[in-house]
Structures are given as structure tokens and as C-alpha cells.
């Protein structure tokens, strides 16, 4: 990791700043939000952004700014949890496949290839229709369809790394294979994984919003950005701000994560592709 290279990427730095700002705001939501996120007021419905409500009110008179902050908690937490889960499953299985080869490799590759050959959204919907949707089941569903890309990367890294000198040296020294794998090989595969995980977390935000649109996202009244954007559908014309703010939040976050991912790739000496 070459921090100076990262710092020299203006888009990456801008992305990181946006992410940190949004993350802090979401984390501090209970303390900085001006209203109760679920307090309705049927006499102050769909008020445009103004003095009383900085970002206006929604179709039940709830403060949009407050809900944006609380929704950010859910959306960002979801992206984080899904990414962590996918990295855990993906690196474990990918390392297993790449390091040991043989039937382990064939099994993992079969699972990876079949999952990658089906539409993620469809699979997530199928899984989502069986489970009662909350943050954790949704995270599980998304992780189950997201790990294959990470497993593929890890496996490819393992295949190239295990023939390298330090792995051979480790084996020559009589170290147990697990030790070689976890102490020597995995740390060397971290760089591309960090990049992939960053891009994956961006993808999770988009998939969550698409799932909301198709009726399988976070269930109300728990606000998520995707859920808010979906609920705003009925009011695109009457109250456009209901769609604009969550839409911008998703777009900004996804773009920021992509820029950060690109900058990390450059900083870690990887090439595009």
C-alpha cells in the first residue's frame, strides 16, 4: 500500500471524504437528527424543503432529513455486513480451492460458476421470498449471492502465489499446509481483495435498492435509502424531493466507493481489468 499514490488520486480522495462524512453522519444519527424518524404528522404531509424541515417531509409527514440519516445507518451497515460476510466466505472457499486443488477446487469452482451464471437479483429474490426480511436475513441473502467473485479472485491469487518462492520455501521447511496458507499466502492476496471488497460494497447498495423496487428489500417502517427511494415512486411528480435525496445518497456513495476502489487499486500496484 502506497499512501502517497492514493493521496495523488483526487477522485479517490474525494470519494474517501464523502464516505467518511456520510458514515459519521449516519453513525451520529440518533444524536444529530432533528426529529423522531417514525413520528408521523398527517397534517404536515409532503412539505417541500424549507425552514421547519430542511429536506421536507414525506408522505406521512415524517422529516426526510431524519429518515435519511437513519436510513444511512441501515444502508451502510448492510453494505458493511454483506461485504464482510462475502469476504469471509469467498476467501475461505477460494483459498481452499486454490491451495489444495483437486476435488475441493472442483466443488468450489462448480458452486462459483453456477452462482455466477445466474442473475444475482433473481437469486436474491428467491432467497428473500423464503425468509422474513430484516437487516440480518437480507445481509445473509446478499452475501450468499455475492461471495463467488471474491472466491474467484482468491483462488486465482492462490494459484499464482503457491508456486512462488516463499510458499515453496515454507513447504521445504516442513511447515504444515494450513500454516503456509494462512501465514504466507493469504496476506499476499489481500491487496486485490480489498479492491474487490470496496467495489462489492458499492454493488450491495445498488442491489438493495433494486430489491426494494421489486418488493424484496428492507421492510418498512425501517428506512433504508433504497427503501425510501422505492417508496418515493408514487410521488415522483408531486414531491420530487422524496426521491432526489435518497437517490443522490445512493449515487454518491456508490460512486465514492468506486473511486476509492480505483484509487486503492492504483495505490496497491494493481492493474485495471
Amino acid at each position: 500500500m502506497r499512501w502517497r499514490t492514493f493521496i495523488r488520486q483526487p477522485l479517490g480522495v474525494a470519494g474517501a471524504v464523502v464516505l467518511i462524512a456520510l458514515g459519521l453522519a449516519a453513525a451520529a444519527a440518533p444524536w444529530i437528527a432533528p426529529f423522531d424518524p417514525n413520528a408521523i404528522d398527517l397534517r404536515a404531509m409532503q412539505q417541500p424543503p424549507g425552514d421547519a424541515h430542511l429536506l421536507g417531509t414525506d408522505d406521512l409527514g415524517r422529516d426526510v432529513l431524519t429518515r435519511m440519516l437513519f436510513a444511512g445507518r441501515i444502508s451502510l451497515l448492510l453494505a458493511l455486513v454483506v461485504t464482510a460476510l462475502s469476504v469471509a466466505i469467498g476467501t475461505f472457499l477460494g483459498a481452499l480451492a486454490g491451495f489444495f486443488g483437486g476435488w475441493a477446487d472442483r466443488l468450489v469452482s462448480l458452486a462459483t460458476d453456477s452462482l455466477l451464471s445466474l442473475p444475482v437479483l433473481g437469486l436474491a429474490m428467491v432467497a428473500g421470498s423464503v425468509l422474513r426480511p430484516n437487516l440480518w436475513t437480507l445481509a445473509l441473502v446478499l452475501a450468499l449471492v455475492s461471495w463467488p467473485t471474491l472466491s474467484r479472485i482468491t483462488r486465482a491469487q492462490m494459484l499464482t502465489l503457491r508456486e512462488r518462492t516463499y510458499a515453496e520455501a515454507g513447504r521445504a521447511l516442513g511447515l504444515r499446509p494450513q500454516r503456509v496458507l494462512f501465514r504466507h499466502l493469504l496476506p499476499n492476496a489481500v491487496a486485490p481483495l480489498i479492491v474487490a471488497a470496496t467495489l462489492l460494497s458499492a454493488q450491495v447498495l445498488l442491489v438493495e435498492s433494486a430489491l426494494s423496487f421489486l418488493g424484496y428489500g428492507m421492510r418498512p417502517p425501517t428506512p433504508s435509502w433504497g427503501g425510501m427511494l422505492n417508496e418515493a415512486q408514487a410521488f415522483y411528480r408531486q414531491s420530487p424531493w422524496l426521491a432526489v435525496f435518497p437517490g443522490l445518497a445512493i449515487t454518491l456513495t456508490v460512486a465514492a466507493l468506486n473511486f476509492v476502489g480505483d484509487a486503492l487499486r492504483a495505490a496497491m500496484g494493481g492493474r485495471g481489468g
Partner: protein, 292 residues
């Protein structure tokens, strides 16, 4: 895999006061839903191997017919979206790759990344609102003018907006790929030779570098198909497009399992076929690859 414990098709009959528990059981028997899930699934697989995909509970005809009706529109949409993504992506990638101005490079990247960062059900609705409702440049969705003559122009006119919305998601990755590829071949021998012969950097890159960058791109096309289908599930609902993605969504909501499974089979098969085609294509395009 997809048979669900609650809310099966026979359960709508529980709504009827006259439907005794026996009658509901009988209904499940007629549909084979009285068996345990693994037995149902086993039966379905056995019949699938024999070419029988089962019947749609909703449309009451062969699931394979239901799915077949929707393949054409989805092929058109995903094909056009792929083309949009490729043309724009390669174009922007070349622009960023040959330009040495950081300003241009950043601008190109911002445009491409924003394209992939906007939820398509939102951008699609905005496109309809602005270009169909207000400006009247594009139709309000669908594959063709109902009752009009089916002709190519009408079809393209309907295809344009959904293909642009779906395709915009894929611009960034092609751009990134082409840009990085051009930067990496810039120092290769053949590009340097071309420059030594008097071509300027841009021309040398485009004439000699670009073909080598684009060639491997063919192989990744197949991998894009599942993502395109995912995207199509949303785009097809937004633009009233009668394709596979919308069918999968509707069938899941209606718990029409044979159609859900049929759709996933078709999606999987399409990926296999496209991968095969791209492999062959790669062989034709790259003389170094020969198949025995």
C-alpha cells in the same frame, strides 16, 4: 430449491369458505403439492430431463411456452444494452487512454462511474418523465406501437430508452478496461516501433494498441450476461418490456414455481451458449488460438 412452505398456489383456495380442508388437500393432490418438497423437486427434475418443464399455475400452459414467449424481447434489450455499454465504454476508454490530460481523464471517469451508480429504476423513471411525458421524444414503454405496423424503426424507437438506461450501467467497466489496456500497451514494442516510424502517439495507440486491447474483451462478454439479466429485471418493469426479467419477477410474486425454475434454466443456458460463442469467436479473431 424454490418450492416454498407457505403461500403455495393451492393456498389461495383456503380463502374460500366452502373449501374444506379435504378439498384443499385434493387440490394439492391434483397439483402434486401434497408430497414433501424433496419429492416434488425430484419429480420436477425427472420430468425436466425428459423435456417436460411442468405447467405454469398462472398461465395454465407449458412453462417452456411461457418462458419462450419472453426470450426474444430480452435478447433484444440485453443485446442493445450490451452494445450501448460497449460503444460508450470503448469510446470513453479510448478518450481517457490516449489523452494525457488529467482533467479529461477525470471527467471521463466521473461520467462513466456516475452512469453505473444511479439505481436504474430511478433513472428509468426520470427518463420516462422527461423524454416521454414532457418532451414526447420516446414512447411510454412497450416493445412496439400497439396496433401499428411492426417495422424496424418502430422497434428501435421503443428499444432506445430501456437499452440506454440498462446499458449505462456497464459503461464504466469497459471504459476502465480499455483505458488500462491502452496505458499498458503504450510502452509495448510494437507501439513504440509504430511511433518510431513516424505515427503520433494517438495514431500508434489506436491502430496498433487498440486491437490488442479489444481482443481479450470478447471473452469476458459471456460473464456479463447474468448481470445484464439482473439489470433487465428492473428495466423491464420500468419500461413495460415483456421479457424474461419481468417474468421472473412476476412468477416469484405469484409463486409460479415451474416458470421461476424455467426462467433460471434459460438464464443459465444462455450463459453457457454465450460463453461457447465467445470462445469460438476468440479463436476466429486471434490466430494464435486454434481448436483441435
Amino acid at each position: 430449491m424454490v418450492h416454498l412452505p407457505k403461500g403455495g398456489p393451492a393456498d389461495v383456495y383456503a380463502a374460500d369458505p366452502s373449501a374444506t380442508p379435504e378439498a384443499i388437500e385434493r387440490m394439492k393432490e391434483i397439483w402434486g403439492l401434497d408430497q414433501p418438497l424433496h419429492v416434488q423437486y425430484g419429480r420436477w427434475v425427472t420430468r425436466l430431463v425428459q423435456g417436460d418443464w411442468g405447467r405454469s399455475y398462472v398461465e395454465r400452459r407449458e412453462a417452456i411456452e411461457v418462458v419462450a414467449d419472453r426470450i426474444g424481447p430480452t435478447l433484444r434489450l440485453t443485446g442493445a444494452a450490451l452494445l450501448v455499454g460497449l460503444v460508450a465504454g470503448v469510446g470513453l476508454g479510448v478518450l481517457a487512454g490516449v489523452s494525457r490530460s488529467p482533467g479529461v481523464q477525470h471527467a471521463v471517469r466521473v461520467v462513466a462511474v456516475l452512469g453505473m451508480s444511479v439505481p436504474t429504476f430511478w433513472s428509468g423513471a426520470i427518463v420516462l418523465l422527461v423524454f416521454s411525458s414532457y418532451l414526447r421524444w420516446i414512447p411510454a414503454g412497450g416493445v412496439g406501437t400497439i396496433g401499428g405496423d411492426a417495422n424496424l424503426l418502430d422497434a428501435l424507437w421503443h428499444l432506445a430508452a430501456p437499452a440506454l438506461v440498462l446499458g449505462s450501467v456497464y459503461v464504466a467497466q469497459w471504459m476502465r478496461y480499455v483505458q488500462a489496456g491502452l496505458e499498458s500497451v503504450a510502452d509495448d514494442d510494437y507501439v513504440r516501433t509504430a511511433r518510431a516510424k513516424g505515427l503520433n502517439r494517438t495514431r500508434a495507440l489506436l491502430r496498433h494498441g487498440l486491437p490488442n486491447v479489444l481482443l481479450p474483451l470478447v471473452t469476458v462478454l459471456g460473464l456479463e450476461l447474468p448481470r445484464l439479466l439482473s439489470g433487465a429485471m428492473v428495466t423491464e418493469v420500468v419500461f413495460s418490456w415483456p421479457g424474461i426479467g419481468r417474468l421472473l419477477h412476476g412468477s416469484l410474486v405469484a409463486r409460479d414455481y415451474p416458470v421461476v425454475l424455467g426462467t433460471l434454466i434459460v438464464a443459465g443456458m444462455a450463459v453457457l451458449i454465450v460463453n461457447l460463442i465467445t470462445d469460438l469467436l476468440y479463436g476466429v479473431l486471434d490466430p494464435r488460438v486454434r481448436y483441435a
